[in-house]
C-alpha cells in the first residue's frame, strides 16, 4: 500500500503551500488585500497539515522509501510590481491545485478503505482548498488585464 507515501506527499505540499502563501503575503505588503488574505490562507494550510497527523501515524507502516516531496522551482526570487504579483498568484494557483489533487486522490483511497474519519477530513480540507483556489483565480482575473494590458 502506498497511502502512507501519498499522505506524506500531501503533508509536504500543504507545508510548501503554507510557506508560499506566507511568502507572497510578505512580498506584497503594499497590496493590503493580498497581504491579509495570503496570511489567512497560509493558516488554513497549516491547519490542514495538523489534521493529517493522525492519518500519517495510522498509515505510517505503509510508507515506501520513495521521495516524499516534489520540490517546486516556483518562487525563486522575491518579486514586486503588478506583473510579479500576477506571476506569484499564478504559481500559488499551481501549488494549490497540486494540494487539491492530493486531497482528491486520498479521499478516494479513504473510500476504498472505508476509513470514514479520513474521508471526512478529506472532504472538509478539499472544500477549503477549493476556496483557496477560487480566491486565487478571482484575484488573478482582477489583476491580469491591468498588469498585461495597461501597466508599463
Amino acid at each position: 500500500m502506498h497511502l502512507g507515501n501519498y499522505l506524506g506527499l500531501l503533508e509536504n505540499s500543504e507545508k510548501q503551500l503554507a510557506r508560499a502563501f506566507d511568502k507572497v503575503s510578505r512580498h506584497h505588503q503594499d497590496e493590503p488585500d493580498i497581504e491579509q488574505m495570503c496570511q489567512k490562507l497560509s493558516a488554513w494550510s497549516v491547519r490542514h497539515g495538523g489534521q493529517l497527523q493522525p492519518f500519517l501515524v495510522r498509515y505510517a507502516d505503509s510508507r515506501s522509501p520513495e521521495p516524499a516531496a516534489m520540490e517546486k522551482v516556483l518562487f525563486g526570487q522575491p518579486r514586486s510590481g503588478s506583473l510579479a504579483l500576477l506571476r506569484d498568484l499564478h504559481d500559488l494557483w499551481l501549488l494549490t491545485n497540486e494540494v487539491k489533487l492530493c486531497w482528491d486522490i486520498i479521499g478516494n483511497a479513504a473510500l476504498a478503505l472505508r476509513d470514514k474519519e479520513l474521508e471526512a477530513t478529506c472532504t472538509a480540507c478539499e472544500a477549503e482548498t477549493k476556496r483557496q483556489l477560487d480566491w486565487l483565480l478571482g484575484r488573478i482575473k482582477q489583476a491580469a488585464p491591468q498588469a498585461l494590458v495597461v501597466a508599463a
Partner: protein, 764 residues
Amino acid sequence: MEETRNSITDIWGPRTGYEGPWPIRVDEQLTEPAENWVQSACVLCSNGCGLDIGVKDGRIVGVRGRAQDRVNHGRLGPKGLHGWQANHSPDRLTTPLIRRHGQLQPATWDEAMSLIVDTSKQLIREHTAGALGFYTSGQLFIEDYYTLGVLGKAGLGTPHMDGNTRLCTATAAAALKISFGTDGQPGSYTDLNTTEAVLLVGHNMASQQTVLWARILDRLAGPNPPQLVVIDPRRTYTAEKATVHLAPRVGTNLAVLNGLLHLLIEHDYLHHEFIKAHTVGYAELRQTVEKWTPERVEALSGVPAEQLLAAALIIGTSKTLVSTALQGVYQSMQATAAAVQINNIHLLRGLIGSPGNAILQMNGQPTSQNTRECGADGDLPGFRNWGNPAHIQELATLWNVDPDKIPHWAPPTHAMQIWRYCETGSIKLLWIQATNPAVSMPELARIRRILRQKDLLVVVQDAFLTETAQLADVVLPAALWGEKTGTFTNTDRTVHLSYKAIDPPGEARADLDIFLDYARRMDFRDKDGQPLIKWSTPEEAFEAWKACSKGRPCDYSGLSYAKLTGGSGIQWPCNEQYPDGATHLYTDHEFNTHADYCETYGYDLVTGTEKQPEEYKAQDPKGKAFLKAADYEPPHEEPDEQYPLWFTTGRVVYHFHTRTKTGRAKALHEAAPEGFVQLSAEDAACYGIREGDLVEVTSRRGQATEPARIGGIEPGLVFMPFHYGYWDQDQDPPRAANELTLTEWDPVSKQPHFKYAAVRIRKV
C-alpha cells in the same frame, strides 16, 4: 429672520407622541421672506427629507419642509435647515483652473475640457481605457450617475469606476445582494410608525438622521412605544434611549450578532414554516452560531450575558421588527458578514415584506443608492449581474454597442484598488467628482502622495477648492444642489425630484452638462455611428434611465418628472404593477435570487470570492432567500504595548461629508468648529488629561491632535469624528482622524475599515 425653532440647540424639535400616521410639523428657516418656492429635497443625509427652497432675487433665502412628504412630514433637522447657506459661500469656484508651473490658475472651459479630452485620447491610444479611472460621489443625481455610467462603461469601456459610496454603502449593497439576490431595501421608514421593536446596529441615528430619529422619539412619546435595542461601543444619544444597550468591544460585532442568532434558535423564536418555504442555508447557520453562547460572547465582546439575553428576548418575541445598520457595521471588521446576520434575524423570524417589518441597511450618503442603481460605482445599471452574459447583452442592446465594449471580464475595480492602480502608475488619469478623498479616505498621507504623483492627471469637479481640489491638475467648477435639476433616491427607495432654484455662480456648470460635454468632445458613438449619449437635458436623461431600469427590481418606468412634481416622493418599484410605488419588497416572500435575475451569484463571506455561475445554477434557490453564516475572526490590528488603545471614528450631528458644505454654513460651523478626542474617565485619569486638554493621538500611520472630551465611552477606546480636514485650518498640527486609519478593507464589499486601529495618546 424666520425660524421655527433653534435646531442647533433643539436638534429634534418638540415631541408629538402618535399612533397612526406621523403628525405633520413644518420646520422652516428663512433669512428673508421668499418670493417663490421651488420643490426639492435635502441631500445632507440618506434620509432625503422633502423640502421647498425659498428664493428671492435669484438667491436662496431659506427652506421649509414639505408637509405632504412621506419621509419627513414637514420636519427638517439642523443640517437641512442650514446647509443651503453653503451655496452662497464667497469661496465658491467660479471658473475652471489648470495647474501651470505648479500653481492652479484660471482657465476657460474650452482649455480645461480640451486638456482632459486630449489626455484621455492619448492615454487610450497608448494604454487602452484601462488607464482612466473615475471616482465619483454619493451626492450627484440619477441623471448624472446614469450618464457617467454610460460614458464610462459603453463609451470608454473602463472597468475603473467607483465612488466614495464605497466608503459608506458598499456593505449595505453587498449584504442585500447576498441575502436577497439583488440590492434594494425590503422595507420603509413608515414601518417605524407601527413596529414593536427597533434594532439599531452600529447606527447612531440620533446624530446621523435627525428627522428619522424624531420619528422614533415621537413613537417613544406615544401610547405604544417600541422597544429599542442599540448595539454601539459608545453611549450615544441613540444609546441613551435604548431599552437594552449592548456596548461590544471594537471588532466583535459578528460575535454579538451570532450570539443573538444562537439565542433565537435556542429559545425557538423561529418561524419554521417560513424558514422551510423561503430560505436556504439554515442548517449551516445553526451549526455556525451554536458555539456562540452568551458566556462566550461575553468573554470575547464584553457584553454581559444577561444583556444579550434581554436583547434576544425583545428581538425574538416582538411581532414586528425594524432593524437598521450603518457605519458601525460597515466600516468594522467582517462588515458584510455582520450585516448579513442582521438580515438573518429577520429571515429566521419571517419578519419581512409586511407592515412594521423593515431591514434598513442604511446609506451614509444621500444619493448613494443611485450610484448603485445607475452603474456609476462597481455595479452595473439596473442591478444587473456582471457575471451573467444575458444581462450584459441587455445593456449592449439598450446602448447599441458591442457587448465586449462593456467591461465584464472581471469584477469592476473597487475604489481602494483604483487608488492602488494610481499609486503604481497604471491609472494615469483620475477624475474625481463632488467628493474629497484627501480627507475622507483612510491613511491620508498616502492619499496626498498619490494625488501629487507626477504622472497622474487628477481632475476634480467640485463646487469648492477642497483639500483634494488643491492637489488637482484640472479643477472644474460645478453647480450645487439647488442650482441644477435632477432626481435622487433615499435609503427607503423614495425618489425625489429636486428643481433648479437659482443659477450657479460664475461659470460653474451642472455635473450633467460637464459629462455631456466630455462625451461630445470624445465623440462616443454607438454601433450605427450615432452619438452614444442621445440626451441633453435632465428630463431626457431620466427617461433614458427609466428604459434601463424597466423590468429590473429598481423599476422607475412608472415615474416621470410630471408625476414627481407637486406631491411627495414616490418609492420604486414604480411601474404598471405599482403605479404609486411599493412600500415593501418581497410581500409574497419571493426573493430576487433566481439564477437569471439575481445581481450576484454569491460570495465567500471569508475570502470575498465571487461564486461561479455554474455552481449557482446547479443549486438555483429559485426565489428563496439565503441564510448565510459566518464565524468570528479577530481584527488585523489590535492594541499592543506600543499602541495600547483602540481607536474608532464616526460623525457628529452638525457635519456631513468632510464639512465641505456644512462647515460653510455659519450655524453648523459654530456648533462644531473642531473635532475632539473622546476618552473614558478612567483613561483620562490614567494619562492626566482633563476636559478640553489637547490630546495627540498616534497610530502606525500618522497622528492627529484635538481637544479631549471625557465620558460616554468604554475604557480602552478612543473616538474621533472623522470629517474634520484642513480647508478652514492649518495642516499643523494635523487634525483629521483619517491620518490614523488603516488602508485595509472588507473582503466582500471592499469597504475600508475606519472603525478600528491601535493608537497611543499623550497630552500635548
